[in-house]
């Protein structure tokens, strides 16, 4: 099929879609006047029932926790898939000091405090998800972006030492398993899977809202290590060659 024919078919379909979509959009509830009842119910319940002030995270890690468990395993599986597809080539890399060039001292000076701040901020994000906007997913990505700064400011070897450590893979598995294990511990208390059975604490404190905080921290661990593994897998070939050539 040539480009022209394909584009023509696209325009016809797009026109049809636009007509139908316009009719649908006109009949949706007018913008700004949503009437759905579930949001009101949950927002009036979550502070009393779960002692969590961030309703979105209370939904994600508690009311809809089983869904999020599946979502976390989607992440786990896709990282597994990427690592299997792009397995680093077996090369005997002999790293030589000359091949590694770091950036200018100015960049290093900017990057290293930034590294510390990113990790600290990521930890804060993933442990305060039940109180303020944030949570495991966001905190995890923030933590995982810190080693990229090492890659930028320092040399490949430092980045490789951080990201290809066997501990990273273990931590990823631990993060993914931790969520399910927290769900299973509910059985010990004699309640169904993923029930929030831990004492809920005082609303507004860090150690409140029971399993929501624990699950958020587990997800943070999983996401951080998953993105570390992803970035290492994508960069593995460049890193291997950088040690070899020159």
């Amino acid at each position: 099929m040539s480009q022209k024919v394909r584009l023509r078919i696209f325009w016809i379909c797009a026109a049809g879609f636009a007509c139908i979509y316009f009719l649908v959009a006109k009949n949706l509830p007018p913008w700004g006047h949503y009437r759905g009842p579930y949001g009101d119910v949950i927002s009036s319940l979550s502070v009393y029932e779960r002692h969590a002030t961030d309703v979105v995270n209370a939904i994600d890690y508690d009311y809809r926790g089983f869904d999020t468990l599946a979502e976390e395993f989607i992440l786990f599986t896709s990282v597994l898939g990427v690592m299997m597809l792009l397995r680093p080539p077996e090369r005997k890399a002999t790293p030589s000091a000359t091949a590694e060039e770091s950036m200018s001292p100015a960049v290093q000076l900017a990057a290293l405090p930034c590294f510390a701040i990113l990790i600290l901020f990521g930890l804060y994000m993933s442990t305060h998800g039940q109180l303020t906007p944030g949570g495991g997913f966001q905190g995890g990505v923030i933590i995982a972006s810190a080693p990229m700064l090492v890659y930028v400011a320092e040399h490949f070897r430092a980045f490789k030492r951080i990201t290809s450590h066997p501990l990273v893979e273990g931590l990823e598995a631990a993060g993914a398993a931790g969520y399910a294990v927290i769900g299973v511990t509910a059985f010990a208390a004699g309640v169904p899977f993923l029930t929030n059975w831990v004492p809920l604490g005082v609303t507004g404190k860090v150690f409140s809202s029971g399993t929501i905080a624990a699950i958020s921290a587990c997800v943070g661990l999983e996401v951080a290590t998953a993105f570390l593994l992803l970035s290492y897998t994508y960069l593995a070939e460049i890193i291997a060659d950088a040690g070899k050539t020159k």
Binding site: V56, I59, L85, T132
Partner: protein
Amino acid sequence: MNSVIHTFPYLVAGWVFLCGLYGIVTSRHLVHMVVSMAVLQTSTYILLLNIGFRQSGAAPVFADLPPSTRIVDPIVQALMLTDIVVEATVVALVLAFVVKAHENAGTLSPDDLRMMRG
């Protein structure tokens, strides 16, 4: 004017969807196609967000609000949170396929990729 405002946000979602689709149809490089796919997926966020939005509703964080305040719908926001993370993982996996296709076929134009034909 009022009726325009009442449907315009939904129409933007449809517009972004069509933009992403246009990018996918006309793309000549698989990475371009992946980026277009990411744009296409953002249309769902815009639609969900605008459906759950309420005029003069506050953000659903009660840390500094009395619990009876009128807030926007938190359920669609939880859905969007899931959607965003899944988008990232899908893009990661698709990019791995793209790298593999590049290594095996040497080209990334969808028209030249013989191995994609059945």
